[in-house]
């Protein structure tokens, strides 16, 4: 079970959190202006990398806040956590 460092509460067990999929997939500014294909890409297409992945988590059984995590999908190592709206940090 992962130990996830919530940016507000500190490290907590994974069971306190809900997973929210890929981060930085913004709701389109004007969905009506998108082609069916562009809209389908927003709806259905997500990255699935082996390695570092920016993803959303919600501390649903804690402070109930959403935040972003950069996690290595192969090792589960968490490289960064940051708040919604902040840019993805550059990790060496």
């Amino acid at each position: 079970m992962l130990l996830i460092p919530c940016p507000w509460c500190g490290p907590r067990d994974e069971i306190e959190f809900h997973y929210g999929g890929q981060a930085h997939v913004a709701y389109p500014e004007d969905p009506a202006a998108l082609s069916d294909e562009e809209w389908a890409r927003y709806l259905f297409f997500r990255d699935n990398p082996k390695g570092r992945f920016a993803e959303r988590w919600s501390h649903s059984a804690g402070c109930r806040r959403w935040f972003n995590v950069v996690r290595d999908t192969a090792t589960n190592e968490i490289h960064a956590v940051y708040r919604i709206g902040e840019p993805r940090p550059v990790i060496a």
Binding site: L3, A32, Y42, L43, T75, I84
Partner: protein, 938 residues
Amino acid sequence: MTSRPGEVVRFRFDGRDYEGRRGDTLAAALLANGVRRVSTSVQLGQPRGIFSAGGEEPNALVQIETPFPEPMLPATTVEICDGLVATGLPGKGRLADRPDPARYDTVHAHCDVLVVGAGPAGLMAAAEAARGGARVILADERPAPGGSLLGTAEAVDGLPGRRWAAERAAELDGLADVRVLCRTTVFGHYDDNYLVAVERRTNHLGAAAPATTARERIWRIRARRVVHATGAHERFPAFAGNDLPGVMLAGAARTYVNQYGVRPGRRAVVLTTNDTAYPAALDLAAAGIEIAAIVDVRQAPGEEWARRCAERGIDVLTGHVVTAARGAGELSSVVVAPEDGGQARDVPADLLLVSGGWTPVVHLFSQAGGTLRFDEEIGAFVPGDTQARDVRLAVEVAGSARGVPTLSGCLRDGAEAGRRALAAAGFAVPDQAPPPAVEDEPAAAPARHLWLVPAADGDGDDYREHFVDLQRDVTVADVLRATGAGLRSVEHVKRYTTAGTAHDQGRTSGLLTSAITAHALGLDVADLGVTTFRAPYAPVSFAALAGRDRGHLHDPVRVTAMHDWHVARGAPLENVGQWKRPWYYPLDGEDMTAAVLRECRAAREDVAMMDASTLGKIDVIGPDAAELLDRLYTNMMSTLPVGSIRYGVMCRPDGMVFDDGTVIRLAEDHFLATTTTGNAAAVLDWMEEWLQTEWPSLRVHCTSVTEQWATVALVGPRSREVLAGLAPGLDVGNASFPFMTWRDAEVAGIPARVCRISFSGELAYEINVRSWYGLALWEAVNAAGVTPYGTETMHVLRAEKGYPIIGQDTDGTVTPQDLGMAWVVSKKKADFIGKRSFSRADTVRPDRKQLVGLLPEDTGRLLPEGVHLVEPGGTRALGHVTSGYRSAALGRTFALALISGGRERVGERLHAAMGEEMIPVTVTHHVLYDPEGARRDG
């Protein structure tokens, strides 16, 4: 050996009574009584004996009957107690046929250093970590600390090993920040050093176990650093007949003699590839067991061992092998031959000790994500670099778990691992203490890695008696068949042959399976590797994992303020999410059908009431509350006047219906949104997700108020009259209190918010009061002569009106248009969640499944949910029944269904396929009752 010292313990095995000694395992006690056949194998039905002295046991599986039935326990781990009753198993066990009265519980623990294994290395690691001030947990699966010292009886610091270990462990346990857990198996090592262990607390006490003590306890431990001091398991080579009772691991036989004072046989042959079988042979000889010969596959054993054997008169046959073990049902002789093919001879023996070397227990290390490397010296896989670039484990491995071969080496290695863990956990490392002294440690000669003894001509040369996995009855022939079928991966061979998949997870046989596979493929086992290790390391009972989360503590139970009344009235309860809701209220002699028809008639023809408190209620407050709701609901909420109510639907961005409910405008900046009972938490999460992640600039707060309010639905043509009587101050006229508005009022003297909403199509109100007053309100309304009804009647009433239940009539693939609710989708709003998807090609397909009504031609026939519909004579499923009921108002049964192109099919005749039976039905519009909506105004 009936003269063994110790307290006598009486037990029963396979129908016979025996005596053992306190502290015996069942295996030790059976051997002391000369019982050699313990079980029969699962596939071949072969007799099997006791092969090991620990948790790695593949053969001696037993069923415990008393104190409480438990299947599939290795006799080598069961501690006997007075009154124990057990039987040997034919490979499979049997669960108890009655509820387990024992308690089980869970402890969550944190520590700086967790040490797994209290053998020489683990004790030293824990001691060093504790000396540096760390919070330490030391866990070991056996009843006493000491690990290998228990069986070898080697001396440390001039003390017998067992005593040295007990004293060290007692010292540790006396420290405030150290916890020593015996009988505790760490079975899983998960991410970020989260480890799970099971502690067996009372099994060894038998009937004397206190009922108030948890039988087993799960430890969930988060550790800053972990030291794996998990030791090594002895392995065996494959040779013909190696499964016979009487064939035993050399170290296990040594343990029976030294730890339990039990002689596992009278005359033994020893087959070995390494020096460790020599002290075993000498200890057995000292205990009075005749050693017929030591068969060493090497040309040269350790010199000191050879000298001691000569001194004792033990014959050492170097360059020899055991080509077969023989006997009818158990071992009676051993075929010994020079490896290069000289004359074989038959040596009478009732015990064959085997040692094929020692395999480090790397299960937990591998589970933690560590990579393994092959160590040529010990001929086994050992933990690789813990600090490899892609896997940085907060783990140290110490002692024989990483291939350290000697006791003194393990003691030193354990201390060093403890110091590394201490430093890594951020503690100052104290000065090094001198290591404990080990006196008798003769220099070892190199081992030879022999996996397979080729069969002698005509003697097992089909390799069907060369066992690889004893518990699964997998032989060398089976492995050869797998490689012959083209399998090249050891993972595939495992699944093809089942080797390594049994209860023992191939602890003594996994490496052998790989080695035989490699041999067959002409590869090096180092390159082929071993199968993946997965948790749990050892079997764990579901009872332990469930802990106290059983029965009424399994899941929280939610009840309304009126719950006790429902129960007192004899209403059966329906589970809706975690809520218990009254299902129907049977009168004397009434069955469910009769009760529901009566309740439906009351609602349609007179007046009825329902406890609607479980509906989710969310307060949405803030200057941008209307804007948020406009974005989330498909229809317009910002235009709703204060004092009014609107029904709304929420969709996912893909356009599929997610929830529905009413929205009440309490003030310009204050709404109350209701949700379906089961979806309340999900809707609140949904609102929060959008607010936090997409629209943080919206000034809105969302708060669950579900439990703050109790709600009574008052339904039926006489509801206005009843409400007027209860709320004399409220103007209930149709014009002054119209449909879809709300009023504050005093109802039965209780401050209430009365909403004119209908989920039945009838004139109806929902009276909301603070939860404290829920029961008082309910009783007051009921006292006015109102019939209570439950969830079943609610379902019938709403289905007659074609109102869908989200999650019952929908399944996440249904749009509002599919439900016949295009009217709820705003054409005016520029955007809302789901809007763009309504113009996708997929959502405008004419053959989408649409909600329709169904009328069975047999008006008494009830259609169960899930039944598929086909055209007469056709086989293609057009859709399925989502709801089916008996209707009092229609005087017949009916159903709702999702059917491909359903609206175009109104009037068509279809078949509902009930197995072989085809039930004719007619498709109708989904609103079956009062389609004009005339009744809601009373």
